[in-house]
C-alpha cells in the first residue's frame, strides 16, 4: 500500500511537488497523469526513496526516506528508458545481480522472462537488445522479488502495441496478486485499461483525482453525437458544433442523450445517421492538465 500526505519537494526556487496527498490500496492501480514537468517523475522518485521531500510517505508500511534499504526490498521500480541492467553484461547476469540484491529466487528470472516472451534473450548483452526486449527484461527485474508495491514511471513509453499488451497483462496479474501499482503515463488508453483511479498533477499540485468516469463527468463533454448526413450540410445546420467534414459534424454533451438527440433531430434534414460515443479520453483530460 502507498500512503502520501502533504508531500512537497522543491528544486531551488522551483516547486516540483506541493502538498500532494494520495493513497493506493493493495490490489489497486492509480495512474498519475500530467503534462511534462508536472511532477510525475519527482513523485515516483520520492516514493522510491531516490529523492527526499517533506511530508509523510509510507510504502508497504515503511518510510522510504529513513528506512530506505528495507523499503527498497518491498518496491518494484521501473524508470522509463533508464535501465538498471548493465549494458556490457548479459541480461541474465544483470538479473542475477538483481536477484541477489533483492533476495529473490533466481528461478523466477526464467519464469518471468518466459511469460514476457524474452527468455531466449537472457544470454544477450544488454547493449545489443532492442528497446522492447530491454524494457521487458527490466520488468522481469522489477517483479523478481514479488514486491507488494510497484512504482512504474511510463513503463510502456516507446513500445509497440503488441509489447504494450504483454506488459499491461503482466502488470495486471501482479496487481491481481495483491500489489499496489502507481504508474505514470501519457498513454491514456493504457490508463483506461489499467487504472482504478487517476490523479492529475498540474505544476506539482493535485489538480483533480478520481475514477475515469468521475473525471469525465467533471471535465464536461463526456459523450459525443456524430451526425452524418446523406449530403453536404449547411453551416446554419452545423451551427457552433464541430464540423468533421462537408457532410458531418459532432457535438459534445453530458447527461441523458434523449433531450439532446431530440433537439438535434429538429434541426437536421431527413436521412441523417446519428452515432453516440464516449469522447476520446485525451480530449476530455487534456484541459485538466493546464486549466
Amino acid at each position: 500500500m502507498i500512503e502520501v500526505a502533504g508531500l512537497s519537494r522543491r528544486f531551488g526556487d522551483r516547486v516540483a511537488l506541493s502538498r500532494v496527498d494520495l493513497r493506493v490500496e493493495a490490489g489497486a492501480v492509480v495512474a498519475v497523469l500530467g503534462a511534462n514537468g508536472a511532477g510525475k517523475s519527482t513523485l515516483v522518485k520520492c516514493l522510491a526513496g531516490v529523492l527526499v521531500g517533506s511530508g509523510t510517505v509510507r510504502v508497504a508500511g515503511l518510510d522510504p526516506w529513513s528506512q530506505r534499504a528495507a523499503a527498497a526490498l518491498r518496491l518494484g521500480v521501473m524508470f522509463a528508458h533508464r535501465g538498471s541492467l548493465w549494458p556490457d553484461l548479459s541480461a541474465a547476469e544483470g538479473l542475477r545481480l538483481s536477484a541477489a540484491l533483492y533476495r529473490a529466487d533466481r528461478a523466477r528470472i526464467e519464469v518471468l522472462a518466459d511469460r514476457l516472451g524474452v527468455a531466449d534473450r537472457l544470454g544477450a548483452l544488454v547493449r545489443t537488445l532492442s528497446l522492447g526486449e530491454r524494457v521487458r527484461l527490466e520488468l522481469v527485474g522489477a517483479l523478481l522479488h514479488r514486491p507488494p508495491v510497484l512504482l512504474f514511471d511510463e513503463p510502456t513509453l516507446g513500445l509497440d502495441p503488441a509489447i504494450r499488451t504483454v506488459v499491461r497483462r503482466v502488470l495486471r496479474e501482479a496487481v491481481e496478486d495483491g500489489a499496489a501499482l502507481l504508474l505514470t503515463s501519457h498513454d491514456l488508453g493504457e490508463v483506461a485499461q489499467l487504472a482504478d483511479r487517476v490523479v492529475v498533477l498540474r505544476d506539482g499540485v493535485v489538480a483533480t483525482a478520481g475514477t475515469l468516469a468521475e473525471l469525465r463527468a467533471r471535465a464536461g463533454g463526456a459523450r459525443r453525437i456524430v451526425v452524418t448526413a446523406p449530403g453536404p450540410l449547411d453551416d446554419a445546420v452545423v451551427g457552433a458544433d464541430r464540423r468533421l467534414g462537408s457532410d458531418s459534424f459532432e457535438l459534445a454533451f453530458d447527461g441523458p442523450s434523449g433531450p439532446v438527440v431530440g433537439a438535434l433531430l429538429a434541426r437536421l434534414p431527413g436521412g441523417c445517421d446519428l452515432a453516440i460515443r464516449e469522447s476520446p479520453l485525451d480530449e476530455v483530460l487534456a484541459p485538466l492538465y493546464s486549466r
Binding site: 528544486f11 531516490v50 529523492l51 540484491l101
Partner: protein, 239 residues
C-alpha cells in the same frame, strides 16, 4: 553477503566485458611497463628501481576505476535513479564493483605481467597493500566522478585524474629513484596507489602499510561523505 559478493563479481566481470580491454591491458600494459623498466634500469643502478617501475605502474593502472566516467554518464542520462533505488547504497555498490574490477586486473594482468617482466617480490607484505591500492583507486575514481558532476560533466576529467595520480603516486617515478620525494611516494597521501605497494614489493617494512591504511581510510571517508552530500543532485537529474 550474497548481494555484496554479486556486486564484487559484477565488477570483476565488467572489467573485461569487452575483448578490447583484455587486449589493451595485456599488450599495452606489458609493452609500456617493459619500456618504462628499461628506461629506469638504464637511469639507475639500484635494482629496486626497475622492479618498482614495473609493479607501481601496473598496480596503478589496474586499480584505476572508471567510476568517474560511469557516474557522469549515468548522471547525464538519468540512470542513477535506478541505482539509487536499490536496497544497497550507491557508495557500497560502487566500492564493491571497483574492488571486483581491481581484483580481476591485479590477478590476471598486473601480477602475471610483473613476474613475466622479471619483478620478484621480497616478501608478501605487498599483498595487503594491493587491497589498499584497490580501495584508494575507488576513492579517487569516486572523487573524480563527483568533481566531474560538480563541474557539469566536462570531458577530460578522467585524463586529469589519471595523469595527476600517476605523477603523485609513484607510478611514473619509482620511489627508489625519487630522491627527496621517495618518502612522499611511499608514505604520502597518494602512495597507496603505486609507490607503497612497489616499495613493499622490494622490501619496505610494515610501517608503510600502517601509514597507507590511515590515508586510504581518510580518502574513502572523504569520497563517501562527498557522495552522500551529492545524493540529492544525483537523483534529481534525468529526462
Amino acid at each position: 553477503m550474497n548481494a555484496w559478493f554479486s556486486l564484487f563479481r559484477h565488477g570483476a566481470l565488467t572489467r573485461f566485458a569487452r575483448g578490447s580491454e583484455w587486449f589493451g591491458a595485456l599488450a599495452a600494459g606489458g609493452l609500456i611497463s617493459a619500456i618504462t623498466a628499461s628506461v629506469w634500469h638504464a637511469a639507475s643502478p639500484d635494482p629496486r628501481v626497475a622492479t618498482q617501475a614495473v609493479l607501481g605502474w601496473l598496480v596503478a593502472a589496474s586499480v584505476a576505476g572508471r567510476t568517474d566516467e560511469w557516474l557522469a554518464t549515468r548522471w547525464t542520462d538519468g540512470g542513477l535513479a535506478a541505482d539509487l533505488a536499490r536496497p544497497v547504497s550507491l557508495g557500497v555498490q560502487l566500492l564493491l564493483r571497483d574492488l571486483g574490477r581491481a581484483a580481476t586486473g591485479l590477478a590476471t594482468v598486473s601480477l602475471p605481467l610483473a613476474l613475466v617482466l622479471g619483478a620478484r617480490p621480497d616478501g608478501v607484505l605487498f599483498l595487503p597493500a594491493l587491497l589498499l591500492a584497490a580501495v584508494c583507486g575507488h576513492a579517487f575514481g569516486l572523487l573524480s566522478g563527483i568533481a566531474t558532476i560538480g563541474l557539469g560533466a566536462p570531458a577530460g576529467t578522467t585524463w586529469v585524474r589519471s595523469s595527476l595520480l600517476a605523477l603523485l603516486s609513484g607510478a611514473a617515478v619509482p620511489p627508489a629513484a625519487g630522491g627527496p620525494f621517495e618518502g612522499f611516494f611511499v608514505y604520502g597521501p597518494f602512495g597507496a596507489l603505486a609507490g607503497a605497494p612497489a616499495a613493499l614489493f622490494t622490501g619496505a617494512g610494515l610501517g608503510v602499510l600502517g601509514v597507507q591504511f590511515a590515508w586510504v581510510l581518510l580518502w574513502l571517508a572523504t569520497a563517501h561523505a562527498a557522495l552522500s552530500g551529492l545524493r540529492d543532485r544525483l537523483g534529481a537529474t534525468g529526462p
